[in-house]
C-alpha cells in the first residue's frame, strides 16, 4: 500500500514539474517568443501597436511571478492559451486533431501488437529452426529502416504505380454521403499511413513477445500441461500469460508517445492529426500551440506509464513479489 502511495506521489510531482518546465523553457532560452511570432507572420516587422497588444495578450508585460501565477490558474481551468496564427483556443485545436491520430495510431498499434504476438509465438515455438531465424533477421532488417523510407515505398507502389490508395489527406473534401460512406472514405485514406506505422512498429512487438515467450517454452509448468494431455491451444494460453505484460506495456508506451511518434508519417501523408498540427504550428512559429502539444503529450506519457505500472502490479505476481 505504501508502495502505491509513493507511486501516486511520484506521478503528481512529475506532472507539476512538467507544467513548470513548460512555462520556463521558452523563457530561459535565448530569443523571444515574440520574435518567433514575427518570423512566423511573414512580415519583416510588426507595427509597435500590434507588438504591444501581443505582449499584453500573452502577459509578457507583467513581472515573471505574476505571469507564472496566471499561467497556473489558466491551466487549472483547462485553458492552454490561444493560437497566434488562428486565434482559436489551443485546446479546441487539439481536441479537433486528437481523434484522427488516436484512430490511426490506435488501429496501427493494435494490429502491430496482434501480428507481433502471432509471429513472436510462431518463432518462439521453433527454437533453433532456420526458418524462424531467417524470419527474425528479416524482421530486424525491417525494423532498422526509417519510417519515411517505408512511407515512400508505400506511396510509390500502392499510390502511384497501382493507384489503389490516396497518398495524402484524411478524407475526400466535400465527399458527402452517409456515415457509412464517410467511414469507408476515412479508412481508405488511412490505409497507407496505417500500413507504414504497422511496418515500423511490428519488429519491436515481434522481438518483445518472442523474448518473453522463448524462456518459458520449456518451463516446468508447460511440461506438466503437456503431460496432462492439454490441447495445444490451452498450452499456448498458459504461455501467453507471460508475454501479456511486456506486450501490453509496449502497446501502452507506443500509445503514450503517439503524438510525437506519428509526426513523420502524418507529415508525409499530410494526415490531419496531432503530428500535422505540430508541423503547421512549427511552420507558423505558433508557439502557444507547440507548448500546448508539449504539455498534452507529456501528460499522456506520464499518465500511461503510471497506469501501466499499476496494471503490471495487478497482472503479474512476479512484480508484486519484487516490491
Amino acid at each position: 500500500m505504501t508502495d502505491l502511495r509513493a507511486h501516486v506521489a511520484r506521478y503528481l510531482v512529475l506532472l507539476a514539474v512538467v507544467a513548470v518546465v513548460n512555462f520556463f523553457l521558452p523563457r530561459v532560452l535565448p530569443g523571444s517568443p515574440l520574435s518567433a511570432a514575427v518570423a512566423g507572420s511573414g512580415l519583416p516587422v510588426l507595427p509597435s501597436a500590434t507588438l504591444d497588444r501581443l505582449r499584453e495578450g500573452y502577459d509578457l508585460n507583467r513581472p515573471m511571478r505574476e505571469q507564472f501565477v496566471r499561467y497556473l490558474r489558466r491551466l487549472g481551468q483547462g485553458d492552454l492559451g490561444r493560437s497566434i496564427s488562428t486565434h482559436r483556443p489551443v485546446s479546441a485545436l487539439i481536441a479537433e486533431r486528437l481523434p484522427w491520430t488516436v484512430g490511426l495510431a490506435g488501429v496501427a498499434i493494435a494490429a502491430a501488437a496482434l501480428a507481433g504476438l502471432a509471429i513472436g509465438t510462431w518463432s518462439a515455438m521453433r527454437p533453433g529452426s532456420r526458418t524462424a531465424q531467417a524470419a527474425g533477421t528479416l524482421v530486424i532488417g525491417l525494423g532498422a529502416l526509417p519510417e519515411f523510407l517505408i512511407a515512400m515505398g508505400c506511396i510509390i507502389v500502392f499510390g502511384v504505380r497501382w493507384r489503389l490508395f490516396p497518398t495524402g489527406g484524411g478524407m475526400t473534401p466535400f465527399g458527402g454521403g452517409g456515415a457509412a460512406r464517410w467511414l469507408a472514405d476515412v479508412a481508405w485514406h488511412a490505409a497507407l499511413p496505417a500500413v507504414t506505422l504497422v511496418a515500423a512498429l511490428l519488429p519491436v512487438f515481434v522481438l518483445v513477445s518472442r523474448n518473453a515467450l522463448a524462456p518459458v517454452m520449456d518451463a516446468t509448468f508447460l511440461v506438466v500441461a503437456r503431460a496432462k494431455g492439454l490441447r495445444p491451444r490451452r498450452i499456448l494460453w498458459h504461455a501467453w500469460r507471460n508475454a501479456m505484460s511486456p506486450v501490453l506495456t509496449l502497446s501502452g508506451l507506443r500509445l503514450a508517445t503517439l503524438v510525437t511518434g506519428v509526426v513523420v508519417v502524418e507529415r508525409i501523408f499530410a494526415y490531419p492529426g496531432m503530428g500535422m498540427l505540430l508541423v503547421e504550428a512549427v511552420a507558423r512559429r505558433d508557439y502557444p500551440v507547440i507548448q500546448g502539444i508539449l504539455l498534452v503529450s507529456s501528460v499522456a506519457v506520464l499518465t500511461v506509464v503510471f497506469l501501466l505500472e499499476l496494471l503490471a502490479y495487478r497482472l503479474d505476481p512476479r512484480v508484486r513479489e519484487q516490491t
Partner: protein, 301 residues
C-alpha cells in the same frame, strides 16, 4: 562468444559500407566544389550532364546538396552522440560517486524522460531559430537521460568490486577511481550508446528537417527531404527519384549499417544460443530501472 564470431561477416560489411559513406561525404568539397547553395541551373530540372541528380525548386544542384548535406547529417549525428554519451557517462557516474548530486541528478533524469524528446527539440529550435550548432546541442541535451540510468546501474555494481574498495583504502581520489576503475568497466556500454545515439540523432535530424526546422544556411539530408516533401508535385513525375530518394537512402543505409554494428542489438536479439538468454537475464538484473522506462530505453534512444 560464438555469436560474435558468426556475426563477424555482417559487422565487417556494415563497417565497410559506413566507411564508404564517410569517405564519399568527406570528399564533398572535391566532388562538388563550391557552395552547394549556389543556383546553377533551372528549377526542378531532370538530370543531365551538368546536374547528374537534377536540380531542386530554386535550381541548386541536387548532387552537391546531397554530398554536402550528408556531411552535415553525419557531423550532427556523431557530434550530438559524442556529447550526449559524455553527459550520460558523467551523470550516471556522478549520481553514484558524488553523494550530494544523487537526488538532483536522478530527478533531472526523470523529468527529461517524462517530456517527449521531439517536443523539447522542436521548442528549442522554434524559439532560438534553426541552426546546425544549436541542433547538435539540443540533441545532446535530449539524448542523455535514458542511458544515464543504465550507466548508473552499472556503476553501482562496479563500485562494490574489490579492486575499487582496495583503491579507496589505498587513498585514491574519487576522480582517479572514476577514471581508472569505473570508466573501463562501463566503456563497452558507452560504445553501444554512442552508436545507438548517432542513429537516433540522424533520424531526429531527418524528422526535424521534414518539419521544416533544418538549418537554412547549411543543407543536410533532413532539410533536403523536407524540401522534397514540400514540393507538391513530388510523386506526380519522376522528381522523387533524384530529390527524395537519395537523402532517404543515405539516411537509411547509414542507420542500418549503424544498427548492424551495434553490439548486442540486432545480431543477438534473435539468436537462439543459451548464452544469449543468460546475458539478457544479467542485463535485466543490472538495469534496475522500472519496467516501462526500461523498455523505452532499449528501443528509442
Amino acid at each position: 562468444m560464438r555469436t560474435t564470431v558468426r556475426a563477424g561477416g555482417m559487422v565487417v560489411a556494415a563497417a565497410a559500407v559506413l566507411a564508404c559513406i564517410v569517405v564519399v561525404v568527406l570528399a564533398a568539397g572535391i566532388l562538388a566544389p563550391g557552395d552547394p547553395r549556389a543556383i546553377t541551373g533551372l528549377p526542378v530540372h531532370s538530370p543531365d550532364a551538368a546536374h547528374p541528380l537534377g536540380t531542386n525548386e530554386v535550381g541548386q544542384d541536387l548532387l552537391a546538396v546531397w554530398l554536402h548535406g550528408g556531411r552535415t547529417s553525419l557531423l550532427v549525428g556523431s557530434l550530438a552522440a559524442l556529447l550526449s554519451t559524455a553527459m550520460s557517462a558523467s551523470v550516471g557516474m556522478l549520481s553514484v560517486t558524488w553523494r550530494p548530486a544523487r537526488i538532483p541528478l536522478l530527478a533531472l533524469t526523470e523529468v527529461f524522460l517524462a517530456i517527449p524528446g521531439l517536443m523539447i527539440l522542436v521548442l528549442i529550435l522554434v524559439i532560438t531559430g534553426p541552426g546546425t550548432g544549436r541542433l547538435i546541442l539540443a540533441l545532446a541535451l535530449v539524448g542523455w537521460p535514458a542511458f544515464a540510468r543504465i550507466i548508473r546501474a552499472q556503476t553501482l555494481i562496479a563500485v562494490r568490486r574489490d579492486h575499487v574498495q582496495a583503491a579507496r583504502a589505498l587513498g585514491a581520489t574519487d576522480v582517479r577511481i572514476a577514471w581508472t576503475c569505473l570508466l573501463p568497466e562501463i566503456a563497452p556500454l558507452l560504445f553501444t550508446k554512442f552508436l545507438l545515439t548517432v542513429r537516433w540523432a540522424m533520424l531526429m535530424e531527418a524528422a526535424l528537417g521534414l518539419m521544416g526546422l533544418g538549418d537554412p544556411g547549411r543543407p543536410s539530408w533532413g532539410s533536403m527531404l523536407g524540401g522534397a516533401f514540400s514540393y507538391p508535385l513530388l510523386f506526380l513525375g519522376d522528381a522523387w527519384r533524384w530529390w527524395a530518394l537519395p537523402p532517404a537512402l543515405g539516411i537509411a543505409v547509414t542507420t542500418v549499417a549503424l544498427s548492424a554494428l551495434t553490439p548486442g542489438r540486432a545480431t543477438r536479439a534473435m539468436a537462439d544460443t543459451p548464452a544469449m538468454s543468460e546475458k539478457r537475464e544479467q542485463r535485466r538484473q543490472t538495469v534496475r530501472a522500472r519496467l516501462p522506462f526500461a523498455v523505452r530505453d532499449e528501443y528509442s534512444r
